[in-house]
């Protein structure tokens, strides 16, 4: 099997989607969503990163081994941040316990 060639139109579409994502990031940042401001920012950034990885970086057309490798990297980082934050986010709970 030879290398998969992604058509140029796909690249232009992804480029457009990324620009729209950037505009949405800025728009949502200026609207008061309370605690959901950061959620919106990270969800949009996550989708943008996903588009870059999937199409610009050709992961969609790569071997399953490469896909697993990529997933391991990002899952690792997600775990590192979330496990660290289970500590910091819950420290105050002890203080306010009746």
């Amino acid at each position: 099997m030879s290398e998969h060639i992604v058509p140029k139109s796909t690249y232009y579409t992804i480029f457009g989607a990324l620009l729209v994502g950037t505009a949405l990031t800025i728009v949502f940042a200026f609207i008061n969503l309370g605690n959901f401001n950061i959620v919106a920012a990270l969800v949009i950034a996550g989708i943008k990163a996903g588009l870059v990885i999937t199409f610009f970086m050709h992961v969609k057309y790569s071997s399953r081994l490469t896909k697993m490798w990529v997933a391991v990297g990002f899952i690792w980082m997600f775990l590192m941040i979330s496990i660290t934050m289970t500590d910091y986010l819950t420290r105050a709970w002890l203080v306010y316990r009746p």
Partner: protein, 289 residues
Amino acid sequence: MIETETAPERIEIHADHHPHLAHHFESMEQQREAGTLGMWWFLLTEIMFFGGMFTAYTVYRHLYFSAFAAGSEVLSVWWGGFNTAVLIGSSLTMALAVFHAQMGNAKKVVFFLLFTVVLGGIFLRVKYIEYSDKFAEHVFPAGDYRWPTGEEPAGPHNPGDLLLMLVGLEATHHPGPMEHGLPVKVTTNYSEEGPYYGTGGQIPEQVQSDSMAGHVRLYFWFYFVMTGFHALHMLIGIGLLLTLAWQAWRGKFSREYHSYIELTGLYWHFVDIVWIFLFPLLYLVDRHL
């Protein structure tokens, strides 16, 4: 495609396979797969490198949110948004360079690699302007650091300003508060002491011990270290792209053999992804009015 120079005796030994196939690989396909996997292995170490900083950022943003919000407001959303678009554009041109490499179209490969370099250069030019302004406002966290700044943050107020500042026709630093343009909250309410001018670079002790000033300073450490390492990656990327453009011009690559372009593309896109997260996390902490 230009023929690769090969000594006559080597042609005999290597006649049955592509001249760029290393002997420990079965086929060009396997060689390419291994290269991609190896590059991702490297990018995973890069995720760990930036991941540590993102984790530390998350912890301190949680602990000192109001300070991070105040520090963030000193940055210019115009510059940050513009640079995000420029970097996304450079990812597009990089992807097109890889596309033309797969097509074996050497001239277009050179064109799009250099296009990517130009966009990377514009990004770094903006970063230079931003850094200069932050130094002028004394928010660089080492040396002559002062908080609150007591000044309206520098930066463009509209696309026209932005273009003029980009080419250096207009100074970006406006000392003193200004009325026109976007509404900007002047952050002077965090310290009783007020801004410190004419202190000869010496920070009064009460400011150094002021916790808000210290926490904002921590935010600026994150800003300068994270964007600084990102810019360093951009510089390395530009060096790689220039080398590739030269090699492509000399006819090194072909339809069958262009791994270096593909793998440098992976690196460039990865650096783009880092910025996609840095932009909202550093520039847009708590912007809503």
